[in-house]
């Protein structure tokens, strides 16, 4: 079985695309999820556009330069980037069906993601304490929509990670579980890409301007 499958794999590689037959389910699933992620990116691009248009519409309220704390943003960025890396380590452990490696990778990814979320909630709370709530100005509405939506995605990702670890514990590395884990890692890396846009457009350009 194993040898036959390997030769089939090899045949799959050697044939031209037009004759190779249907792609493996893993490729198809990843493609479908990639299209969902791109639609999510398009949604974020609308939030980015509205933020960029409204970023100077402070209506006499606090401006970006007065509100943002660069050190906190740097720590948040480091947390998310490191969690992206550990998520990659988790994917490698899944590929070699290493249970301990998977759990350790997931635990570190989860803790870094939770640290990011804690910092972000702290930031929102301190802004609210200064009277910088979403209803204060168009700038703040756009800010909370964009950054809050990203934070919401991170929270959903953390929940998803817990569910996936429960599935690994209960069902092991089945093909279905592996495909779901692949989708999770794509989701998590995409959140990091969106954060690159946020720390550049919202925080760094806000400090420069």
């Amino acid at each position: 079985m194993s040898i036959a499958a390997t030769t089939l794999d090899a045949a799959h590689e050697a044939l031209p695309d037009s004759e190779a037959g249907p792609a493996p389910k893993r490729i198809v699933v990843a493609y479908g999820f990639w299209i969902f992620l791109l639609s999510d990116i398009v949604m974020f691009s609308a939030f980015f556009a509205s933020y960029a248009v409204l970023s100077s519409a402070t209506a006499g309220g606090p401006s970006s330069a007065a509100l943002f704390n660069q050190t906190r943003v740097a720590i948040e960025t480091a947390c998310l980037l490191a969690s992206s890396y550990t998520c990659g380590m988790m994917s490698l452990a899944i590929k070699s069906e290493n249970r301990i490696g998977t759990y350790v990778g997931a635990a570190v990814t989860f803790m870094l993601g939770a640290a990011f979320l804690t910092l972000e909630i702290n930031e929102f709370a301190s802004m609210a304490a200064q009277g910088a709530t979403p209803q204060r100005s168009a700038f703040l509405s756009a800010f909370f929509t964009l950054v809050g939506c990203h934070g919401l995605h991170v929270s959903v990702g953390l929940l998803w990670l817990i569910v996936m670890m429960a599935q690994v514990a209960a069902r092991g590395f089945r093909a279905t579980v592996q495909r779901r884990l692949l989708c999770f890692s794509l989701f998590w890396h995409t959140l990091d890409i969106i954060w690159v846009g946020i720390f550049t457009v919202v925080y760094l350009m806000g400090i420069v301007a």
Partner: protein
């Protein structure tokens, strides 16, 4: 049998030695990605805070660094490459980038144009009339 084969991820049936090689090359790819991403992020934070650079050019530089970092994440973390398995992913990405460019670029262009052509505030209008 073909059905079970299609259900399995490539590399599922590889020998342990190959698997080890796969893991270490994967580790290398993620590590290169991390190093590049850290360098680009650090450069962004430096560029935003330094007074060495020509200030009006900094936002453009930050945008370029961010786009470069997004590319690094796509290639090294999401593995969007030019392989034949990836053609559809690349095409979908290209379409996504077209839409993102139209939405962001178009909004900024239109709103900047509207702002520039905006009627002056009422007080200024009155001054205009009185003259």
């Amino acid at each position: 049998m073909t059905a079970t084969h299609d259900d399995r991820a490539p590399g599922y049936d590889t020998a342990p030695a190959d698997r080890q090689a796969e893991t270490s090359s994967g580790l290398l790819v993620y590590s290169i990605g991390l190093i590049l991403a850290v360098i680009l992020t650090a450069t962004s934070f430096w560029a935003a805070n330094t007074s060495l650079l020509w200030a009006p050019g900094v936002p453009l530089g930050l945008a370029v660094l961010a786009i470069a970092q997004m590319g690094v994440h796509l290639v090294f973390f999401l593995h969007i490459t030019t392989g034949s398995d990836n053609t559809n992913n690349v095409l979908a990405l290209a379409f996504g980038m077209l839409i993102v460019t139209l939405v962001v670029g178009g909004s900024l262009w239109i709103m900047a144009n509207l702002n520039a052509n905006m009627m002056p505030a009422p007080e200024l209008m009155n001054l205009h009339m009185q003259r």
